[in-house]
């Protein structure tokens, strides 16, 4: 083997191989760092527990001027709801139902100032509601109607209205003591029930009553035209899924954007990553070509010697072995250098991230190792077969 090396390796230009190595290292570092960056950012995004939880997303249609002028009602058709249900990001979907009769309420307490107001109720199945209470149910013999208000309403009252009007602020716990009556007005009959606020929802910005109650009451008192549901609540197991925001935007729906921040961020991240991967792929592809051409150049420069060795009884696989060993050695060096540089970059990034109090693990991950070794293996196999092919062709010719 020693003589084969000195015969086949001598007088060969080595600069082109050096360039091929540099190119491969550059491509690899870019690719591995890109993957590492993506992994880190992804873990930062999902570390946030709120984001890891399944997200309850309330979707409505954007209100257009036609609806304002009374031309056609907004709201989701059955088809639209079914389509939404079939989306991969949608775990469960439920349309809001609302009252189909007028409702009003008034206070009946000495401690609180008197109010009278017209009201609306909405309901969604219990599983979508973030307030858990034993009082949250309905049966015909129930003496009062349980109500859930948005947390925002209480805040509005306590920190806005009450203060400016010189009214008392009400703590959450005391609110259930607020006594008020609810009047349900059917076409002919009318009923008055005591109401009881049993909790405040952070999730759903509406006045909620139990689903069973509203269905029962709509059946008994309802006479207004039944509207298509104007809002839909949807549970998504992965709120970072970029498909959610894409779907909502494509359909012209609307939602509270804040909740889908991570989804949007994820889209940007994926875009940046695919750009980096594309560039890295181009660089690696070019470097691979230089490798291939360099080795082929070496082989054709040694064509006479290869033929001579063949005449002396060397099989072409024995002749290609030194080239393959050189190739293997170069690729191992390239992998090692690339991994070291990528690891250094990754830990530098991790240190920077620490300054911004992002929790990022330094060093390389299994995925980066797998990608690196996988690519090197592919490069090795392709190059080695090219080497074997061309020495074989020389020996046969």
């Amino acid at each position: 083997m020693k003589y084969l090396f000195s015969i086949l390796w001598k007088d060969q230009g080595r600069m082109h191989l050096l360039w091929a190595m540099l190119g491969t290292v550059a491509g690899f570092v870019l690719l591995l760092s890109g993957i590492r960056f993506y992994e880190n950012m992804n873990s930062v995004l999902t570390q946030n527990e709120d984001l890891l939880d399944p997200e309850y997303i309330i979707i409505n249609k954007e209100v257009n001027i036609g609806q304002t002028l009374g031309l056609g009602a907004g709201g989701f058709s059955d088809n639209e709801i079914e389509e939404l249900e079939s989306q991969p990001f949608a775990d469960r979907v439920a349309p809001f139902i609302s009252n189909e009769f007028p409702i009003s309420a008034f206070t009946r307490s000495k401690q609180f100032p008197n109010f009278y107001t017209e009201l609306f109720f909405e309901a969604v199945p219990d599983e979508f509601i973030d307030v858990k209470s034993d009082d949250w149910d309905w049966s015909d013999d129930k003496k009062y109607i349980p109500v859930i208000l948005p947390q925002d309403y209480l805040n509005l009252y306590n920190f806005g209205f009450a203060q400016s009007q010189g009214l008392p602020q009400i703590p959450k716990e005391m609110i259930s003591m607020l006594q008020f009556n609810i009047i349900l007005k059917g076409r002919e009959e009318k009923a008055t029930y005591p109401g009881k606020i049993i909790g405040f929802s952070n999730r759903i910005n509406s006045i909620l009553v139990p689903y069973d109650f509203l269905q029962w009451a709509n059946g008994k008192y309802g006479y207004l035209e039944k509207n298509k549901p104007s809002r839909i609540i949807l549970v998504s197991p992965d709120p970072t899924d970029p498909q959610i925001i894409q779907y909502i935007e494509n359909k012209g729906y609307d939602t509270i954007r804040e909740k889908l921040k991570s989804s949007r961020l994820n889209i940007i991240l994926k875009f940046v990553l695919s750009f980096v991967v594309l560039i890295a792929a181009i660089i690696i592809g070019l470097a691979f070509l230089i490798f291939l051409l360099s080795l082929q150049l070496m082989i054709s420069r040694s064509a006479e010697k290869i033929k001579r060795l063949h005449k002396l009884g060397y099989h072409h696989s024995e002749i290609s072995r030194p080239y393959i060993i050189i190739l293997l050695a170069l690729l191992i060096i390239v992998t090692a250098i690339s991994l070291v540089i990528s690891a250094v970059i990754s830990s530098k990034l991790a240190r920077m991230a620490l300054d911004w109090s992002l929790d990022v693990t330094p060093g390389l991950s299994t995925v980066t190792y797998i990608v690196a070794f996988g690519l090197i293996l592919v490069m090795f196999i392709l190059n080695a077969s090219a080497i074997r092919l061309s020495t074989r062709r020389l020996c046969k010719g």
Partner: protein, 213 residues
Amino acid sequence: MIFRLENLIPLPMLEIPVVESRVWEADSFRFEPGMSYLVEAPSGKGKTSLLSIMYGLRKDFRGELFINDSNSREINDRQWSEFRKKKLSFIFQGLELFDELSGMDNILLKNQVTQYRSQKQIMEMADKLDIEGFLDKKCGILSFGQRQRVAIIRALCQPFEFLFADECFSHIDEENGARAMELIRAECNRQNAGFILTSLGNMKYSLDETVNL
């Protein structure tokens, strides 16, 4: 090892005027084991072609060549390589030495694969052929006669059942030529190998059979 040629003729020879030949397009011609042959013919009669075909380097011929009853066209690359390491040795007319290697390294390039000779045996052979002082010099600076002797020694650094020598004494003086011939004969006898020597004519050494192409 027996070579049997049946109606064999190299394709390029079809284009030159036909002259009666014992070998070319003969119904059957055999090279028997342990025999030495002198293939004599002027230039261009296909001496090198004959050896190249028998050594598996050339496949452009009509007719058939059988080696121990197997058709040479069915012998694959790997088998030919094995033949060239263990059964067939060739002293090429063009020598096929590596100019950038020393004489010794050229010999070792072969011997390393076969592990057939010790360093001492190689030096003894070099001594006999009077080139032991040149073996450490790069082949590129040796005279053609010296290089021929290096090529002869290299060819003897492997086991063989047939040795092909293609005009291998053309640039060697009489005294060294005789010694080389003696060395080759001794080695062929020892291994009970066949020997085919090609020559333009006027060969001083007598061999078992002279074949005119």
